[in-house]
């Protein structure tokens, strides 16, 4: 029996009114009529208080991390920073559901998820600092390089999950991307491959309303991005992306499904980027402050704090401790990024191939001679 034996052998029956076969009736693939929420609902009481406190702590640290990284761009210590301020709930939930053996396929906006799953902050940020492309070991950390060409990481996640399954290993791949990325062909091909291969992969789309300046209304005419799952035959879930408990819950369900052989899931998390696209962007050119202010009222960090305090899960001492930990991370980042990076010009020629070509050796010698001459001059 191969892993692909899940495919039906009987011919697919024609669609009939009232049919529940997920391949003919879209309804079971779209279970959420409104975005899933937990905060502010009785559901919250069902969650483990320890998990809730941990999610809160991570949110506070994540917010501080975003602020510190943005400050570092102003000081010229980072070349660019695409902040996830306002989207911390998605970043934190993603980092939290991943088990050590799972793989993360992040986009450029997801350094917080990368750090959250244990990658050193300095190593996670070399790309955006400008000192090295990927500063961490993707194999050791089971975290693919931050991906900038939009949606191109999605098929990689499918392939990795498929390979793990072929090897009989319990590994899930989580691909993260934005609303704009869902327009790229690679995203659609990834969904289709994932469904056809029944791969244990989860796609988390952070719908923050914009692709740089382009609002979702110009991006997609679908009722929701979650709907895009249906045409490929996988479930599409819709969740309040600023409700960290809800995102955690929906992702956990998707992970359980994948682990139990149920195949891939697409999760659309509705959120908002409170900062500009990057420090180089001027968001006032394309959105009004009233919109930003409205979303500030639904800030993932304060939302969580308020509801956990109301539920009696959080007190002043825990809030203070989270703030302390956040400050400690910020201080580490400042110290590390204010030190000059170690740069080795000869690294340019390393790792282009397993063995440098004769031409690359020549070029490396040329640069070495130039640098020696410069040093002598």
């Amino acid at each position: 029996m191969t892993v692909l034996d899940h495919r039906p052998t009987a011919p697919v029956p024609p669609w009939l009114p009232g049919a529940t076969d997920p391949r003919t009736d879209p309804a079971p693939l779209l279970p959420d009529h409104t975005p899933v929420r937990v905060l502010g609902t009785p559901e919250l009481a069902k969650h483990d208080p320890e998990l809730l406190r941990d999610l809160y702590r991570r949110l506070v640290i994540g917010r501080r991390y975003n602020q510190q990284a943005t400050t570092l761009t102003k000081q010229g210590r980072l070349a660019v920073y695409p902040s996830s301020t306002g989207q911390e709930a998605c970043e934190v939930a993603a980092a939290t559901v991943l088990r050590p053996q799972d793989w993360l396929f992040p986009s450029y906006r997801d350094t917080l998820a990368v750090v959250g799953r244990g990658v050193d902050p300095l190593a996670a940020l070399t790309l955006l600092r400008g000192s090295a492309h990927t500063g961490y070991d993707p194999v050791a950390t089971r975290t693919a390089p931050l991906c900038t060409p939009l949606a191109t990481q999605a098929p990689h996640a499918v392939g990795l999950a498929h390979a793990a399954r072929l090897r009989g290993e319990d590994v899930i791949a989580l691909a993260m991307l934005g609303d704009g990325g869902t327009s790229e062909g690679d995203f659609h091909e990834a969904l289709n491959f994932a469904a056809v291969l029944n791969a244990p992969v989860v796609f988390l789309v952070q719908n923050n309303g914009y692709a740089i300046s382009v609002p979702l209304t110009k991006q997609s005419a679908a009722p929701s991005l979650a709907h895009k799952a249906v045409g490929y035959g996988l479930p599409g879930r819709l969740v309040d992306g600023n409700d960290v408990v809800a995102v955690h819950e929906v992702l956990s369900e998707a992970f359980d499904r994948a682990r139990n052989g149920g195949g891939p899931t697409l999760v659309e998390a509705l959120t908002y980027r409170l900062d500009a696209h990057t420090n180089a962007d001027d968001a006032t050119r394309y959105r009004v402050s009233a919109e930003v202010e409205a979303w500030r009222e639904h800030d993932p960090v304060t939302l969580m704090e308020r509801h956990l305090r109301e539920a009696g899960v959080l007190d002043d001492a825990l809030v203070a401790r989270a703030a302390e930990q956040a400050e400690a991370l910020a201080a580490t980042m400042r110290a590390e990024f204010h030190a000059e990076p170690q740069l080795d010009p000869h690294s340019l020629f390393q790792h282009v191939y397993a063995e440098p070509t004769p031409q690359l050796r020549e070029q490396a010698d040329q640069l070495a001679a130039e640098l020696a001459a410069e040093a002598g001059a």
């Binding site: 790309l127 900038t148 300046s213 382009v214 050119r285 690294s347 340019l348 640069l367």
Partner: protein, 334 residues
Amino acid sequence: MSTVTTEPSVRTSTMAQALNAALRDEMRADPTVHLLGEDVGTLGGVFRITDGLAAEFGADRCLDTPLAEAGILGTAVGMAMYGLRPVVEMQFDAFAYPAMEQLVSHVAKMRNRTAGKLALPITVRIPYGGGIGGVEHHSDSSESYYASTPGLHVVTPATVDDAYGLLRASIASDDPVIFLEPKRLYWSKAELNTAAATEPIGRAVLRRQGGSAVLITYGPSLPVCLEAAEAAKAEGWDLAVLDLRSLVPFDDATVAQVVRSVGRAVVVHESTGFGGVGAEIAARVTERCFHHLAAPVLRVTGFDIPFPPPMLEHHHLPGVDRILDAVAKLQWED
């Protein structure tokens, strides 16, 4: 067909403003010119090249598309088939790659496949090259991919005047044009006289006279070559600098004439060397000027490596010293 004539203007412009003016003037002159791309509407493009155009011409003429380069270019093909003249913006060099299939299989070949019945007057604008501290995938020089694809014109300005004139000529061309905009020159400034800045595609121009040797270059490397030529005076070399402006079609006549007159040539570009445009230029020069050459044609190019992280890019990009090192190797006798 109604057209609006534009008053010629003379004013100090950045290259970015000159490109913007060229788009505006073409759109005023020809209602079939339509812009499409990511963030080109409300935002005016991430480099502001389309600033104000959606406001003047409306969203139909300056369209913020969904984020999909293959979709953008494929849609432009259909629009061109129905008589429009699309100008596509790719946001960055490396983000044009998803459109390669449309470009290579359709845009480049449609005229040939249809025995000339179907032309595609599409301009694909692509900001390219390094030198602006861009992170991974934001600094590629992809001109050799395009130049080696028959059916595509490949044009790249290095001055404010040419940015204006060549972009207008590219849009007016009935063939598809890959219009490569050197990012690091977007903010370079000069006086732009829109009436005088007309330049057909396909002509190289001598930017600096010189009798010792010629630096053959284009786009982002032109200012570096001019700087090198200035520095070379201290060494007693009088360097000419030739700006190709158009890689396809290639101006063999001008290039050969200049090389024959000076007898020594160095080709300079920041794109990688192996299999690059410089190899083609060196071969053509050698084929045409062998008996006039006092030394082999040398190349100064980026190394054969993926574009490095910003903090290391200055080691990769050809600079004045590397150019002068090459000039020193041109077999000078006392």
